[in-house]
Symmetry: C2
Subunit: 234 residues, 2 copies
Amino acid sequence: MAKALFFDVFGTMVDWYRGVAREAERVLAPRGVKLDWLEFSKAWRAQYQPGMEEVRSGQMPFARLDVIHRRMLARIQERFGLEKLDEATAAELNLAWHRLDAWPDVAPGLARMQRKFLLAPVSNGNIALMADLARRNDLRWDAILGAEIARDYKPKLEVYCAAAAAFDCEPHEVMMVAAHSSDLAAAAQAGLRTAFVARPDEHGPGRGEPAPQGSVDLAVADLGELARRLGADA
Amino acid sequence: MAKALFFDVFGTMVDWYRGVAREAERVLAPRGVKLDWLEFSKAWRAQYQPGMEEVRSGQMPFARLDVIHRRMLARIQERFGLEKLDEATAAELNLAWHRLDAWPDVAPGLARMQRKFLLAPVSNGNIALMADLARRNDLRWDAILGAEIARDYKPKLEVYCAAAAAFDCEPHEVMMVAAHSSDLAAAAQAGLRTAFVARPDEHGPGRGEPAPQGSVDLAVADLGELARRLGADA
């Protein structure tokens, strides 16, 4: 039986696709900007893996995800006609990632699992970002683990191992929960158990992983089902 | 106005003196051990600063407080006739620090301040230890910061600075709350605001700091008064 559950956050817990679009519109539309907000959201997120890879590869020193998000934004500003964005507006826009809504099953599912397991996000998001998302969505974590603790980015195995060690757990005493097969494959390689939660609309309707691509210990439709499957019923 | 409040834990939030004595008796008395449990508690804690100083000075690499507590225990075992303690019992005894009770004003005080401030322990305790104390005492933290994040021990200034940075705060945007003047003096040196909370019975009746020894921004009798002074009334 697992002692702790670790959760991926972007896509798995919160809807970044519509949330970043909504926040970008809220910040930029009053400044006269018109653009396809969902396309903008998708383009910003598309810089995610390249942005982190510079750290994972050792090309750049570790920087918090807030810093990486800002670099990622700089790379798409010209494409969206935002090359003249002033620094204060860019900083405000960068906080879009702190203002995302959780999928509706997340808060009640976590509340049920909280009685039985230690719970932590193991995300590439930094601590301040995770704390803001937790407050906004009433997520109760035992601690915020992940990239900032490990000073490296998933799917580097060190991130999963450092998180398990912080809870004084062996890797097999922890289950990683994510909507992305690549995250779970790495977690399994680090010795963790794995649960796939389907977020088929992550990148817009019908554009998400509907089922795991590799072998996982559990595959569920949402966190309510995960709680049931783990015997964490009320 | 501060955005975040940081809290010392041992002594300030939880009663280690009576708690460690109670837990030691619970673990050892059924094994036929008889000793002065409060003296044992005091002796174990007395190894605290020397144990951490080995890390702070660079003489030993960083190790989590659970590991330091175990080393500290080894140093007093003979004095208390415990030199033959088996490893499983010593490990169980070491968890005494995870099973301490908060002073009665702590949970309600934090609940009030939680609405207005980001809250985190900035303790020398490791993450698993802080998570266990939070669960036991219903303390809701936004994140667990402190020694394990900084990989060094208070009162090294890096510990306070790393914690503020994790919340994306400037040092002056944070207030450190502690029952120990030495902790607050270091926090002030790192640029944090300071609040002294009196725990006059920390080391037994009348054996604790009744008032701050240096200059602090606030001095209060308990966390209820701190909440009032910070305008965090219900």
